[in-house]
């Protein structure tokens, strides 16, 4: 009968220093399992997390002519850009609120800063209203009431040769 604490079938006594064959194999099995898991889940997690490493850059897009905008009024315009959407290049349509003051144009993104619903401009009230959770913004995009944490995002605008260009993330 073996007196070893670590195994049932060897004839060595456990001296507390020598690692038993049984224990060594148990550890090896554990290490092999870890390596196998790592070999599968490591690359898979890195693969799934790849969108985190994508860096966005800015680009200028022509959205309309300056003459299309009536001074002092807010107008909703839509424009189409060709964007890389995952595995495909696609024409995406985006909306934008443009407000013209003289030759100055302010471009307000319609995505509510609360949870991303599209705000709707109400001309009579001169307010942007969010249909989801009741956010209200003034004509400059500042929060008037409701849950939105900050003002609507403004895009940088340039007017070149009578065309309105807006800077957006590509």
């Amino acid at each position: 009968m073996c007196e070893c604490k670590n195994c049932n079938n060897c004839d060595k006594k456990d001296d507390g220093l020598t690692i038993s064959r049984r224990k060594a194999m148990a550890w090896s099995i554990g290490v092999i399992n870890l390596a196998v898991f790592g070999a599968v889940f490591g690359p898979v997690l890195g693969f799934l997390g790849s969108p985190l490493r994508a860096r966005s850059k800015k680009e200028w897009v022509s959205v309309c002519g300056l003459d299309d905008l009536e001074p002092g009024k807010t107008k909703e315009v839509t424009y189409v850009v060709r964007v890389k959407d995952g595995y495909t290049m696609a024409d995406h349509r985006y909306a934008l609120y443009l407000k013209r003051d003289g030759d100055e144009v302010v471009a307000i993104d319609p995505a509510c800063t609360h949870l991303g619903c599209k705000v709707q401009y109400q001309e009579k009230q001169a307010r942007y209203l969010c249909p989801c959770h009741g956010g209200v913004f003034d004509t400059e995009g500042n929060v008037v009431s409701g849950p939105p944490p900050k003002a609507l995002i403004r895009h940088a605008v340039e007017v070149r040769d009578g065309q309105v260009f807006v800077q957006r993330n590509a």
């Binding site: 995952g86 495909t88 985006y94 599209k118 989801c132 849950p147």
Partner: protein
């Protein structure tokens, strides 16, 4: 049905006394049932389950689990059928769902079974959870059965959230824009979380493939594993029975309780078939990221959360998106350890009963408020798809 169970450990004794020639023939050529039983032990497994003792007082309330299991199996079958006609890309998802709904024979009905099935599953799951809660059936030694059940509930909600995007219509797109933005309100890692879930900054092609993969591979695998564990625990620990032990002897699961199960399954499935046939699910206009004239709304069982978001003051949305749902989830998960009372009787654990009822009432009221404030659906009636859809396909 007294019948000896044949197991590999205990083969049938066939040595003595000397057998008649006909008997010898039977042993050499066993019946198909004996042959399979020796190898699979199937009959023993079935009989063990049919003989499962039901404590006196077990009745109609204990049929919900079986109904739920049947609905989930149905969902798997209809989902498999839909996946055969569905294409998960922004260019084709909408067209393929319109094709299923308008042109594939019985397509609208099968899609109806899947859509109404998801609603029915949520309703039955909630009833099942409430029954276990009020009966105190989650107490020792059934804590883990409850915990696994709560995980299954979360998997079911995951199914409904990911499935909602797949038709790629306005409702699907905008509910997902808002739903995924909720992840961005998590402090510190919110934005990374959002990008991980969407597969990019915007809801797009990669969001759709991600949600599709999660909906048809990850969640079904998780659901199967968890459900197997749940059922194993239910059988291992047996049914808890009524809060106060009742007079009488336990009766086998078959036939009385199984008959009740069958009746409830029949009624539940009947309701599902009726809903799918009478109210085929609509499909709205195709997702338009530029559309500003659309009011996004989530599926009705997320409306409570939606209403909570409305009443949160500026800067406190994280309370509605993370803190409250997180606390409710954790409270549910660890209920067996929060409720320390050894008694299962509701009167003996008043604080937990009151707290649980209050949470249920609040969720119910918020959901009701959300339902009442929902504007009528956009566009045409449910039963007739808009002509534009048909034109798109042709």
């Amino acid at each position: 049905m007294a019948r000896e169970v044949i197991t590999p450990e205990k083969p049938a004794e066939i040595t003595h006394p000397p057998m008649e020639p006909t008997e010898e023939l039977r042993v050499e050529r066993p019946s198909l049932r004996d042959w399979t039983d020796l190898r699979l032990g199937w009959w023993g497994f079935v009989r063990k389950n049919l003989d499962e003792p039901m404590p006196p007082g077990v009745g109609w309330w204990q049929t919900l689990g079986n109904l739920l299991l049947t609905l989930l199996l149905f969902q798997f079958v209809t989902g498999f059928a839909l996946a055969m006609f569905y294409a998960p890309s922004p260019q084709s998802a909408y067209e393929s769902v319109v094709h299923i709904t308008t042109l594939v024979p019985l397509g609208s009905f099968v899609r109806g079974l899947h859509v109404w099935g998801s609603t029915l599953i949520v309703v039955v799951t909630v009833l099942h959870i409430l029954r276990v809660f009020f009966w105190g059936s989650y107490k020792k030694p059934r804590e883990l059965t409850w915990l696994v059940g709560v995980l299954i509930f979360n998997v079911i909600l995951g199914f409904s959230f990911t499935g909602y995007l797949l038709p790629w219509d306005q409702k699907a797109y905008w509910a997902t824009v808002v739903g995924t933005r909720i992840a961005a309100t998590v402090p510190f890692v919110g934005h990374d979380l959002l990008v991980l879930i969407r597969g990019g900054e915007e809801v797009g092609a990669l969001t759709l493939t991600r949600f599709y993969a999660i909906h048809v591979m990850l969640l079904p695998a998780a659901l199967m594993g968890l459900t197997a564990l749940h059922l194993y625990l239910v059988r291992r620990l047996h049914i808890a029975g009524p809060v106060l032990p009742q007079k009488g002897k336990p009766v086998p699961f078959f036939p009385v309780q199984l008959f009740r199960d069958a009746v409830v399954v029949l009624v539940g499935l009947g309701l599902l078939v009726y809903m799918a046939a009478a109210f085929p699910p609509a499909i709205e206009a195709m997702a338009d990221p530029a559309g500003t004239d659309f009011s996004p709304r989530p599926e009705w069982y997320f409306l409570g959360l939606y209403e909570l978001l409305k009443i949160m003051p500026q800067g406190y949305e994280v309370v509605a998106t993370v803190v409250v749902p997180g606390l409710v989830s954790l409270g549910m998960l660890f209920l067996p350890w929060l409720d320390r009372s050894p008694s299962r009787h509701p009167a003996m654990r008043a604080s937990i009963i009151v707290a649980g009822t209050a949470v249920c009432l609040l969720i119910g009221l918020m959901t009701l408020k959300g339902i009442l404030e929902t504007p009528p659906p956009h566009g045409e009636s449910h039963s007739e798809p808009a002509p534009t859809h048909a034109m798109r396909v042709e």
